[in-house]
Symmetry: C2
């Protein structure tokens, strides 16, 4: 099998680090216990490993193709999507009242990881549909929810997010697509949207586009943007399909990776206007879009973890099979499999440690999201929501940045074969490269982390997390042995670095915004490394307690945690230097535009 | 122009850091003064910018194609190769007696950089020819030199290196291709060679393959390998071409990048044996091949610097043109070009600093090579040769590792457009990815750095370099101002880290080879970062002295050096931790094979 979901590792994180039992005790999640989780993950592992994983390389070789406004997806995708839909996989975390399964995000998250590890290009379609469902549930009328959500969950229809225009990438204030009210409650939309993932395809009968546009009298900037629903085929009141709407896919992009996922240029209103419907209130479009985007950003972070794990599995398999050179310690006279060479071992351990650290942090974030939605105490809900929102840009930014490095190491482990496309390792290197760009570049995530997440509460949420890390550090100090000593040393240094960086950001963002934002991405990476390292420390403690129950599994957790401490967390102080020295005219901005 | 060679930066390094005047004072290099250098570089900049750079993207779109054993290169390559040859560019550093120009490696090196920045796929053909020339000059008979070298320099023929076989990648001991003596001084070769760059093409009339093979009674392992010359067309005594030889290109690879460069599978001897000639003495093949490889490894390091600079130039151009979002400091109410955003500035400065640092180190290494060959004093020659050989794996390993990061940042600066192949930024990301693999992976370079370069003289060469760094640190201490303070702080810390790493390597490599080799690649990276940082420190001192002469140019050098200190050199202590903690069972190797 080309992808075997690491169900045991996932359940370890869910149980020991994200406290699934606590989630299962929340109102509404009574059935979401460990047995349920195990059953869902086993089933997901089977489906993704058997059906979707084998199609991944096929999608790279035979990408989606455009012809006369229509897009034909990779052979096999249509049937796989039918199976995906029938299995109920779109609805795992969506409400039961709209035909979803109503499971916690903590259980849905490993399912999303598996889906993306098996086939990232395929997974983008459900990922965008999830965003559309989220936006409709948040801002749609009950009639809209009833009309659209069950069909999105069943896979009969899919959803998209239409934000970007040629002049409006990261800067949505520049959106120009316009929506003219027709007096009957509907609107006519006119404009061009680019980079629309699964903006056109043949997997489902209809596509529900959620589109940012301006009404005629709307103010300039982000405050004048509203959110509209524009179906590919108009929908009758009974849910049946009406006429083809005036939205046309004029081309799809020729991309570095995720080639099976069609990236559409959509033209609205070339033939009289595309019929659309306002979602929520006028001029609140960006706010609703952020709800979709936060869900999507978390999911993109999961894509990073997923592609990293897939690249890791492939590299491990190759390293165990490829025979080359004798061992450096003279322990054999004949060439050995390359996993016996220390540098290959280092690369594999790096891939593994980065992936496990990011996974642990993301699952913990998912649990905070569940607590934020379902905890009976409002104060607790607010606090968990704050932590979740603090973690989202880190999960998105850090998991994707590390995934590029991990995929690149995966190529390196394969040596010359890694550079040959037929080997398949290069696909992950190409696929991963989009992840730090779409749904907000790493810099956009970092700005969000600084502006909305660190500053808005004066650093309170960040400090609360640091206080929790201190407790873990105290627990490490009570244990004996090199793994604990290494982790104690590097987590202490790392959290001090993070604390000083937070202090710097909070103190300087108003008086010297250029200096702070010049270090924004290093700040996000530092937070990612330290917070993931904190989870690895918690994993170390838990694994040490359980070691006797399953020596091989838990000693691997211990070794991986130690490796993370010594080889990843150890970089934290250097990154801190990069953040606090990024000062104004003396630093990053010293080179003038004309000197580049 | 899509590539403008940074002639001024190159001359700055040649003059101020690599001491061109000292090279021009060596016997045989009397004409190689600054005026000559300027003239050669200007001419190279013109040719590469106008002729080769525009063909780079074309080569990616229309790669070399194989049909019935023949390879057709990208349209335009043949004419460009004619111009390259007529311009005398193959012969810049080769001896005048074989029709070369006999210029120092220090002048040839920027020419090689330009060639690779303009068109890396094209440049691979001359790069391999250089290697063949080098091997023939070292080990060939005078008759062989006379017969082959002038035609390789004139571009009438080209050269290749045939090392790899399916079972023999990094481990050349496994080479199985056999060479049977025919009694007339010639041999018949039989075997399969893979990954042969420009192993077949239509740019020149003949291809001179240099092939590693075993004679019938040769011992096992690397000691039984000899080097043979196998021409595609047999060569008559007068240099005219005879019959087609029994070497056939059976396929070329479908690669992630450098697509215009054909990577051939060559089959020798399927029709009675390929006629070949022994180069040098029997069983000394690997030794000669290492001469070629050392030249080629240095050149691959230059490829890293070249592709990094090209990616940087493209990213700068885009950042100065693309308008998106208002500045974070509120200095404008309208969206600005993205170069005004601190994170974009940070990315561009990172790309620039890494590229300039690696370039400076490589050019300094080239000067040591010239001194090693031409210094009148034998002791000096030996000492410069030792430094050059110490630097080669670092130039190869570090310049290529950083080039992947730089090319990746180049994609990131372009945002979503970077992921679209038509933009061209993604090509550099794909092309660069081979550089840490071919001509010896980074791990192979790191093993060489530890085994042959650090250990063989008990760390003496490494210590000599550290002593020179100390002198630079002392000079920094005498200057005032933040750039000097930052550089002093981080170069001091970095060189201490490097000193401790060297000490660790020397002390432990015999008693605990696994621990040392587990940190081999971090050791190489640390050496690359610190030694390049040392050159940036020297650049800082020189630029500061000259500042008044050209304020804009030298203040940019100062700012770039400071950036390097604060954002690159600052990572050195973290890497040291990774090296010295990579200890045996407690570290990298703690995870057993079955636990991956």
């Amino acid at each position: 099998m080309s992808y075997a979901a690491p169900v045991k590792d996932m359940l370890f994180v869910m149980k020991e680090l994200a406290d699934l039992e606590r989630i299962a005790a929340l109102p509404g999640f009574e059935d979401a216990n460990l047995d349920t989780a195990q059953a869902v993950l086993d089933e997901a592992a089977k489906f993704n490993g058997e059906v979707l994983a084998p199609l991944n390389f096929e999608g790279d070789k035979n990408p989606s193709a455009w012809r006369d406004g229509e897009v034909t997806t990779t052979p096999g995708f249509k049937e796989a999507f039918r199976q995906f839909s029938e299995g109920g996989w779109q609805g795992v975390m969506h409400p039961v009242e709209y035909e979803g399964q109503g499971l916690p995000k903590l259980i849905a998250t490993p399912c999303i990881e598996m889906l993306n590890a098996a086939n990232m290009s395929f997974a983008l379609c459900p990922l965008l549909t999830d965003g559309a469902i989220e936006a409709l549930l948040t801002a749609g009328t009950e009639a809209q929810k009833q009309l659209y959500v069950p069909k999105l969950i069943s896979g009969e229809w899919t959803g998209t997010m239409n934000l970007t225009e040629p002049q409006a990438g990261s800067d949505l204030a520049q959106v120009r697509t316009r929506a003219e009210p027709q007096g009957d409650g509907s609107y006519k939309l006119f404009g061009t949207k680019i980079f629309i993932t699964y903006g056109e395809h043949d997997l489902a009968k209809n596509i529900v586009h959620l589109v940012l546009a301006r009404t005629p009298d709307a103010p300039e900037g982000v405050k004048g943007i509203s959110l509209f629903l524009v179906p590919k085929y108009n929908v009758n009141a009974d849910g049946s399909l009406g006429e083809r709407n005036d939205v046309l896919c004029v081309s799809i992009e020729h991309k570095l990776g995720i080639k099976a996922s069609p990236t559409a240029v959509l033209q609205y209103g070339d033939h009289g206007g595309a019929t659309g419907y306002l979602i929520g209130e006028e001029s609140r479009g960006l706010e609703y879009m952020f709800i979709m985007m936060n869900a999507a950003r978390f999911a993109v972070g999961m894509q990073g973890i997923a592609v990293a794990d897939r690249a890791y599995q492939k590299a491990v398999a190759y390293a165990k099979e490829r025979v080359q050179s004798r061992p450096v310690d003279g322990s054999a006279k004949q060439p050995v499999t390359i996993i016996h060479h220390p540098d290959v071992r280092r690369m594999l351990a790096t891939m593994r440690a980065l992936t496990e650290g990011a996974r642990a942090l993301a699952y913990v974030a998912a649990a905070h999201s569940d607590l934020a939605r379902h905890h009976p105490d409002e104060k607790a809900r607010v606090s968990h929501q704050a932590i979740y929102e603090f973690l989202v840009p880190i999960v998105k930014g850090w998991s994707t940045e590390m995934s590029i490095d991990v995929a690149s190491l995966g190529v390196q482990v394969h040596g010359g074969m890694g550079y040959i496309e037929e080997t398949g390792a290069a696909q992950f290197y190409r696929d991963a490269r989009i992840l730090t760009i779409y749904e907000g570049t790493t810099a956009i995530q970092a700005n969000d982390l600084i502006g909305r997440k660190t500053m808005r509460d004066g650093g309170a949420t960040a400090q609360a997390l640091l206080a929790q890390i201190d407790q873990t550090i105290a627990a490490l100090a009570e244990r004996d042995g090199q793994p604990f000593a290494s982790m104690h040393r590097h987590l202490s240094a790392g959290s001090l670095s993070l604390a000083r960086a937070i202090e710097f950001v909070v103190a300087k963002v108003k008086s010297d915004p250029n200096a702070v934002f010049a270090g924004s991405v290093p700040y996000l990476k530092l937070a990612g490394i330290v917070l993931s390292g904190w989870q690895m420390a918690r994993a170390l403690l838990a694994a040490s307690d359980k070691r006797g129950e399953d020596e091989s599994f838990y000693s691997a957790k211990i070794a991986t945690a130690q490796f993370y401490a010594e080889h990843v967390l150890s970089m934290a102080p250097g990154i801190e230097a990069s953040i606090v020295s990024a000062s104004g005219d003396q630093g990053v901005l010293a080179l003038r535009e004309d000197q580049f």
